[in-house]
Symmetry: C2
Subunit: 336 residues, 2 copies
């Protein structure tokens, strides 16, 4: 049964289990500290296709296929898949899932998509609407840069506050099995807009939303950061993480000793020249489906918060002078 906790949080009494998960990452990610955690590395940015957009679909397809294999079920047993990405019309997702014949629900939450998909799949399983439900998301540095900023051929200079879009994908499969990492609680965030309008400073645009969702989650559940082994955000980067600490400290909430940002974990910041860290739907998704869930199964973490954050911006709205709204969804994952 799903129970409402406070005003913003859902409690999943049966705790849907993540029975399989898969992660795929690209060349730059293979040179970072998490290289040994990814299930598959694809060194060719085209993944054998003739465009980066098609390559991104391959990343998703692979991540989902690995998740299926690990969960030892077939695509026919998946009742719903929640998929989304950063590309216009979410094409990586619709094209990657075209061949699977799985009831499909396209999601758009910018870089918060992994948490959104995880929450929706949990709702489907917990409510009995699904025996098994899946989620998948991806991003690709090359397809994202040319869509959101400049074509790579232009060779633009990156600003110090910019983040590097991760080439990667992550996928989870949920069922009502009573074992392994399980989704216990979740808070869906509202849109928060503090008026940031610098397309090269996503961290600042997302930090207020991250703070709001986390504060509401702690209030609703009457818990504090001390109740968790770790709090993972994705992808605030360096600047966004600092802003998050600053906003939370005004409310006397201190998370810095528990906090890890997926955007800071996936690259070796100084050596890899990524400025403020990684970003993109594929960042928090691939870190969740590799380092985080692996370490939960190993016993390093038993009770965590995974909060993916999204900047709901578009080149169109930025050119029209609009600011960048942020959003963040928090998911409490526990080992059973």
């Amino acid at each position: 049964m799903i129970r409402r906790i406070g005003h913003y949080t859902l409690g999943f009494e049966e705790m849907p289990a993540i029975i399989g998960y898969g992660s795929v990452a690209g060349k730059k990610e293979s040179e970072g500290p998490l290289k040994n955690y990814f299930d598959k590395l694809i060194y060719d940015s085209y993944a054998g296709q003739d465009s980066w957009e098609k390559a991104e679909s391959i990343f998703q397809e692979e991540a989902f296929t690995i998740a299926l294999q690990k969960s030892q079920i077939s695509n026919e047993e998946i009742n719903f898949i929640f998929a989304g990405d950063l590309l216009n019309q979410c094409i990586s997702s619709s094209f990657s899932m075209r061949g699977f014949d799985i009831p499909y629900l396209g999601q758009y939450g910018a870089c918060s998509t992994m948490a959104q998909g995880l929450i929706m799949a949990s709702v489907m399983v917990e409510s009995g609407a699904a025996q098994n439900a899946a989620c998948v998301t991806s991003s690709h540095f090359c397809s994202a840069e040319r869509q959101y900023r400049f074509p790579l051929e232009y060779g633009g200079q990156r600003t110090p506050t910019s983040q590097w879009t991760v080439t990667g994908s992550g996928s989870c499969i949920l069922s009502n099995a009573k074992k392994g990492p399980c989704v216990a609680r979740a808070s869906v965030g509202s849109i928060v807009d503090y008026g940031v309008n610098d397309v090269n400073n996503m961290g600042a645009a997302m930090a207020p939303a991250a703070a709001q969702t986390l504060m509401r989650y702690f209030e609703d559940t009457a818990t504090t950061p001390n109740d968790y082994d770790a709090i993972f955000t994705g992808d605030l980067g360096k600047l966004g993480s600092d802003l998050l600490y600053e906003i939370l400290s005004k409310e006397k909430i201190y998370i810095s000793d528990k906090h890890h940002d997926c955007g800071l974990m996936i690259y070796n910041g100084e050596k890899q020249d990524v400025h403020c860290g990684g970003s993109g739907c594929g960042c928090s998704a691939s870190v969740l489906c590799s380092y985080i869930l692996n370490n939960m199964e190993k016993g390093t973490f038993n009770n965590i918060i995974f909060m993916a954050t999204g900047a709901l911006m578009s080149p169109t709205t930025c050119f029209q002078g609009e600011s960048i709204p942020g959003i963040a969804h928090a998911v409490n994952i526990k080992m059973r």
Copy 2:
């Protein structure tokens, strides 16, 4: 409780009720046969804003506000909103919902978004995850044309198979009230791709998905078209509707005497020069939230199928030579 019926269909035992709904339409729509059904008409294509994209947000905001007023609840009482549209990064939705502080879940299903949102909101209410959940979607002829096809200033000639994107929006609010139009069953569709690659022939791209979802729904529920007062699709248009009849007739399913397509209902086809009919997320949404639900409350229809269809295409994929995948979700709405 949510019950699984067959392989693809959900049964909502408590039947979440549509307690409020709102529709807003533009000038061309105000000249069509449904003009008296819309809650609000906005004649200025800019809706007082300085861009069509911003105008589209206003349409959504208005439709949602009307739905709230009719349901006599406040935005604080809405636990989740499912919103989506056709624009890149779903900006009409994220900007229209920015001021409401409602937990937000962005959806992308192209023109199938209204059915998708309705299903997700129903799942949230039926499962107890929400007391009240909402969905909203929109489209705008001018913002869609310049994004998907040509800038209007170019004055391009439209092909005979093309459809006219509706300028409009629709929004529903669902709760567990035991009255009025209620969501009884729903089938979420899979992606179907028959290889159509003509961006000016959406009807042909969507018809196979519509046929598949409808056949699966009838099989799962052991019902036939005769069990329903009407079957509404949106937006197959003239050509897509004919193709749907043709595919279904091979399976000995005949729906033509029960079938109405929102794309054909909203305009006076011959006089209004819309070729194959209306399209866009706002088409089926505004027809559902005006003519269809009004006529259910009046007693004209008691038991209907609302099936919104989407073409999951993108200018990017079309330029890269890809075909256009289709999707369709069916919702069975009954009067209580």
